[in-house]
Amino acid sequence: MRLLLLMLCLAFAGCAAKGTTVVLVEDPDGTVGQVEVGTTAGTQSLNAAGQSTSVKDSSARPSPVRTLDRTDIEKEYGPAIQAMPTPPEKFLLYFEFGRAELTLESKPAPARILESVQRRNSRDVRVNGHSDTIGPRADNARLSLERAEEARVLLVQEGVDPAIIKVLSHGEGNPLIPTPDETPEPRNRRVEVLVR
């Protein structure tokens, strides 16, 4: 039985011997970065999707690049790929000038956020309040917290479990659209909700 397994193993090129194999793959947005695999004997860089290199041990040189197709990758890494969490989903809620009240356009957002929480089975929702730069910094810190608190209340009313919500206020210090001080900018009067 062992021998049979070994023979099957040898029959498939993908069946790895001792050592490390690294495969570069696409990001969800379609871009591909770069990876360098190094040992004391040398470095191999990977810079296109499907490129891979193998290393027998820490004193061996990484192998030349071999390009794997989707079938190879799926066979070797399928379970890990399937277990990959989906990146957090981000929602922007906009507020009326100087107030902790949602703009008309943002009123449907809490329902969409609840849908995302349920679909992702999320136990971690971050609510980050922000303001624009009109008025004193301290007032904006307070306003951005009031907005985040209001968003929290709306999410709880919608049906999101309060225990999974974390609220944080950034004030005017973390604008979506960078502006000078004392600049009205509706796109900065926002609450960012991250469903993780």
Binding site: V23, A80, Q82
Partner: protein, 146 residues
């Protein structure tokens, strides 16, 4: 009055930041089959929502897989019969403190960079028993055979 409200506010915010930052590195997002979180000398069954701390190891059994989300949105998954150790993790953008050190000891893995990969890729250290992997903001797969 405003000043006091703000003072209390900033104290509570600081308290919650201080609590959240130093030890918590991320959490278990999904568990297929069975896995463990190994902390000091204890092995705890891994469940979705469990916090992963700095210095924890995470392992999977046969026919099992685990997905992990770190605080900076780095994503890592373990395929069957795998083990990783989280050597170090720090994520405090306002203090420009970033660190991520992972050891992939055996099995199969998928990795996708998060905010640290975007802001400070040189602070990411990923190694296996055989090699060091330098990342430039990207997704990759790793297999380690013992």
């Amino acid at each position: 009055m405003h000043f006091f409200a703000l003072l209390i506010l900033s104290l509570t915010l600081h308290a919650s930041i201080a609590q959240a930052q130093p030890e918590v590195a991320g959490f278990i997002k999904s568990v297929e089959g069975q896995g463990l979180i190994v902390r000091d000398d204890a092995s705890l069954p891994a469940n979705p929502g469990d916090i992963v701390h700095v210095s924890d190891a995470v392992t999977t059994m046969e026919n099992s897989a685990i997905g992990i989300m770190l605080e900076d949105d780095t994503l890592i998954s373990l395929g069957p019969d795998s083990r990783l150790e989280l050597g170090d993790f720090a994520f405090a953008p306002q203090e420009e403190k970033f660190s991520l050190a992972i050891r992939l000891l055996k099995g199969s893995f998928a990795y996708m960079s998060g905010v640290i990969g975007r802001l400070a890729p040189e602070k990411i250290h990923i190694e296996t028993p055989d090699a060091v992997i330098a990342v430039h903001g990207t997704s990759f797969l790793v297999k380690v055979e013992e």
